[in-house]
Every structure is written in structure tokens, then in C-alpha cells.
């Protein structure tokens, strides 16, 4: 049976695009091969590693198991869309640099996209919730602590808790100067 193609209209990183895709093509393939957005990594291709994570209509998805044709009418963001017009890093990207949350870097774009969703949610996640929210991503280098710290600090800064962000120690635990009073 011959291949079937469709035209997909969507917004990628703020730009409207129109793309002809094979109906069985994954969104990862469309973004990488057709649009040259190579921050979207092809890792496991079974939706386990999170390296291909992109934001679709405000929520994180594994683009490797998401069909490109499903993107019709959707608003998609990849890591390339987070940087400023002059290539300036966004705060979450900068936090990954500052906290040394990168080694080989393969998992980093996916982690940052999920982190971006977290820090822009306006919600204050507990440490446990934050770890669970990041659990769809695998990193074989860093041991996760630096990533966790980068996300936690950025989340606190987004919530206006700048001083609290500075109290996050190397293990990602917020160290208050005095014991917290019992409630």
C-alpha cells in the first residue's frame, strides 16, 4: 500500500508553519528533519526517556510517540523557542548552566521543556511532587540532583521567593537559617 501524506498547519515556537508529512511520521521526525529543530532528541522512541519532550498547547508530550498529523492546529514549543531574539538563555536554561545540571547534554532539552512547564505553572511544588513531575526523564550522567536544584530554584524565583531560592543547598533541600516553628 502506498504512503499517505497530509498537510499539517500548526504554530512552532511562535511561527505558523505548513508542512507536508507522512501520516505515520512522528512529531519528533517532523521537528528534527523538516524544521531542523534538533534540540528535540531521538532517544528511546518508546516514550520512556523524555529526551523528545516538547510543549503542546501548554503541556509536555513525548513527541516520539505523537503523530505529526495530530499537531494540526496546535501550538508547539521546543527548546529553540525559549531563547531570546539575540540568543539569550531563558532563566530555566541559565539555571541549568549555573547549577551544573548538564553533562553530556542529551537529556537536557527534554528536561528543560518539562521544567519550563513546571516553573510557568504558577504552582509551588513540594520536593516530592517536583521529583515526580520530572520522573518522565532519564539522565545517565548527572544523578539528577543538580537538575532538581536548578528546577526548584527557578520555580521559587518565579513565585517571587528569591531569598528562599538562595537557601536551596547542594542536595536540593531548602535550609532555613533557624528551625521552622511548629504550626
Amino acid at each position: 500500500m502506498s504512503k499517505q501524506y497530509k498537510v499539517v498547519h500548526c504554530t512552532v515556537n511562535g511561527k505558523e508553519i505548513e508542512q507536508i508529512v507522512d501520516v505515520r511520521e512522528s512529531l519528533t521526525d517532523m521537528l528534527r528533519n523538516d524544521l531542523r529543530l534538533t534540540s528535540v532528541k531521538k532517544g528511546c522512541e518508546v516514550g520512556e526517556c523524555g529526551a523528545c519532550t516538547v510543549i503542546i498547547n501548554g503541556e509536555g508530550f513525548n513527541s516520539c510517540i505523537y503523530l505529526a498529523v495530530w499537531a494540526e492546529g496546535k501550538e508547539i514549543w521546543t527548546l529553540e523557542g525559549l531563547t531570546g531574539p539575540g540568543g539569550e538563555l531563558s532563566d530555566i536554561q541559565q539555571a541549568f548552566v549555573d547549577e551544573g545540571a548538564i553533562q553530556c547534554g542529551f537529556c537536557t532539552p527534554g528536561f528543560i521543556m518539562t521544567s519550563w512547564e513546571i516553573v510557568n505553572s504558577g504552582k509551588e511544588y513540594t520536593d516530592d511532587e517536583l521529583r515526580k513531575a520530572l520522573s518522565g526523564h532519564l539522565c545517565r550522567c548527572t544523578g539528577y540532583e543538580n537538575i532538581f536544584r536548578a528546577v526548584k530554584k527557578t520555580m521559587l524565583r518565579h513565585l517571587g521567593k528569591y531569598e528562599e531560592a538562595e537557601l536551596v543547598n547542594s542536595q536540593g533541600i531548602t535550609e532555613y537559617p533557624e528551625p521552622m516553628p511548629f504550626k
Binding site: M1, S2, K3, Q4, K6, V23, R24, S26, C44, E45, V46, G47, E48, G50, T53, E59, G60, F61, N62, C64, I65, Y66, L67, V69, W70, T114, K132, A133, S135, G136, H137, L138
Partner: protein
């Protein structure tokens, strides 16, 4: 690998397109993954199907549309806590945004996140096929898989208030589970179900009967019962040996019995 894709706009359109060479495509976590076991010439995408993603609560039961994602289940106050817990077994949020309850049932994976809890809860499925629609228990659906292969799952109905416990064992949150097991209080007995990797999905009716016949069974007796249970074939594989898997079922059954007796099952109040 499929070469054709049909974006069905309604369940009726999806059903009319279903042939032996076609397969339904729900969230895509199973069908779209590398090495998927689904082999079809045409995929019928249900993403644009209307009316399959509602969650309704009525007269002590919750009806969940088959296209509800695991994340929707977790975020809904109407969904019973035991279903939310089973949805949480899928650790990745990005994957939970895609995986659907209907897809998880229909794929019948032996490490299913959801099916043991649904069996223990006595879930009822609403199916639609070329011959019309019907409502059947999930056990019947699994038992007669070939008969219902052409049917589309429209919804899943589960009781709101039931005391139910689930456990999932895997090396990491992301790994395939070696065992997912659930048990619920039903009348004066316990209903138990297990999804055992590389073995199958079972309603543990033999054990339920044994426990009913001897409610005072000791934990050692329960563990030994599972060790000697010959109605199922337990494969030794990279997830563990046969003894290990049988022992795991035994100790989990002990935990469930104790937990349900002490009232630690997930009831609906949330």
C-alpha cells in the same frame, strides 16, 4: 507498519472503518512506540472522536470515557482514588498526557497499569461494534478477546465507593512492572487480580475461594499456596525467577488481606 491513517470524527465512523487489517489508535503510547506489537495496514485515530473523553458520576458509579488520559484521571475529583493510584503507576507525566484508559485496556499488556484494579473493582465496559453496542464486565472482555477485537471501547464504569488496594513492583518507576496486583473487598470476600509480566493477567479466583474456605490462613500458608498454585505458568525471565514471582504474589496477597481488614484500602473520599 501501517501506511494509512484515518482520523475518525465519531465512534460510528471509527467502527465503520474497522476491518481485520485496521487497528484503533488511541493515545499512541502503545501503538506508536518502536517495536509495537500492533501490526495493521490502517490505523484509525480516535483523537478527534467526539464524546469519548467525559467523566460522569451517577448513583454511586463513575463512567469514564475511553479516551480520557491518565493525567485527566489523576486531575479529576470525580475519579475514585484507586483509579487515580493506578494511573500514577505510569510514572512519566508526559506519557500520562497521552495514554488513555481505553487504550490501556485494549492493548491488554501483561504489565498493564490499570487492568488489575479494574478487575478488582468489577469494572464494566461499554463496547460498540458493527453489530451494535453492549455492556460487559472487563473479565469477559479479556476472556473473549478475539470475539471483541473489532469492538471499540466507549467507556469504563467503576464503583465510586469500594475498598481497594493496588501494588506495582518494578526496578525503577519507569521500568516495566514484574507484577501489578489489586484486591478489593466484595461482599464478605476479597476479589483479587494480578498482571504478571511475561505470564498473563489473572483474576485470582482460586485463591479467593481458598481464602474464603479458610479465612484464618496464615501468611506462610498463603505464600506457600502461591508457590504451589499450578493453574498458571510463571516464566522465569530477566525480571525474576519463578520462585521470586510466586513469592511476590504471596506476600502481596498477605499485605492486601491485612490492609483491607484494617481499612487501609483506597476509598473514594479525596
Amino acid at each position: 507498519m501501517a501506511s494509512q491513517l484515518l482520523m475518525a470524527k465519531s465512534p460510528e465512523e471509527a467502527i465503520s472503518a474497522k476491518t481485520a487489517q485496521a487497528a484503533f489508535l488511541a493515545g499512541g503510547t502503545e501503538v506508536n512506540r518502536l517495536g509495537s506489537s500492533v501490526d495493521a495496514e490502517t490505523l484509525i485515530s480516535l483523537k478527534k472522536c467526539s464524546g469519548l473523553d467525559g467523566i460522569e458520576s451517577d448513583a454511586g458509579y463513575v463512567t469514564i470515557g475511553s479516551m480520557c488520559t491518565f493525567q485527566q484521571l489523576i486531575e479529576s475529583d470525580k475519579v475514585p482514588a484507586y483509579i487515580r493510584e493506578a494511573a500514577h503507576f505510569m510514572a512519566s507525566r508526559t506519557k500520562r498526557n497521552m495514554a488513555t484508559i481505553g487504550g490501556n485496556i485494549a492493548s491488554m499488556r501483561r504489565d498493564s497499569y490499570m487492568i488489575p484494579a479494574l478487575i478488582a473493582a468489577g469494572a464494566v465496559l461499554e463496547l460498540a461494534g458493527s453489530g451494535g453496542s453492549c455492556r460487559i464486565g472487563i473479565e469477559e472482555y479479556l476472556d473473549k478477546a478475539a470475539e471483541y477485537a473489532g469492538c471499540l471501547i466507549l467507556s469504563v464504569t467503576v464503583p465510586e465507593k469500594i475498598k481497594l488496594m493496588s501494588k506495582r513492583y518494578s526496578n525503577t518507576a519507569q521500568s516495566h512492572a514484574v507484577l501489578t496486583m489489586s484486591a478489593a473487598v466484595c461482599g464478605d470476600g476479597i476479589v483479587m487480580a494480578a498482571a504478571l509480566k511475561n505470564s498473563g493477567i489473572y483474576r485470582l479466583m482460586d485463591f479467593e475461594k481458598a481464602l474464603k474456605a479458610d479465612p484464618e490462613m496464615s501468611d506462610d500458608d498463603i505464600i506457600s499456596w502461591f508457590r504451589n498454585w499450578d493453574a498458571i505458568r510463571v516464566e522465569a525471565d530477566m525480571f525474576g525467577g519463578e520462585d521470586y514471582k510466586r513469592y511476590l504474589m504471596g506476600v502481596t496477597a498477605c499485605d492486601f488481606r491485612a490492609g483491607l481488614a484494617s481499612g487501609s484500602g483506597k476509598e473514594v473520599e479525596s
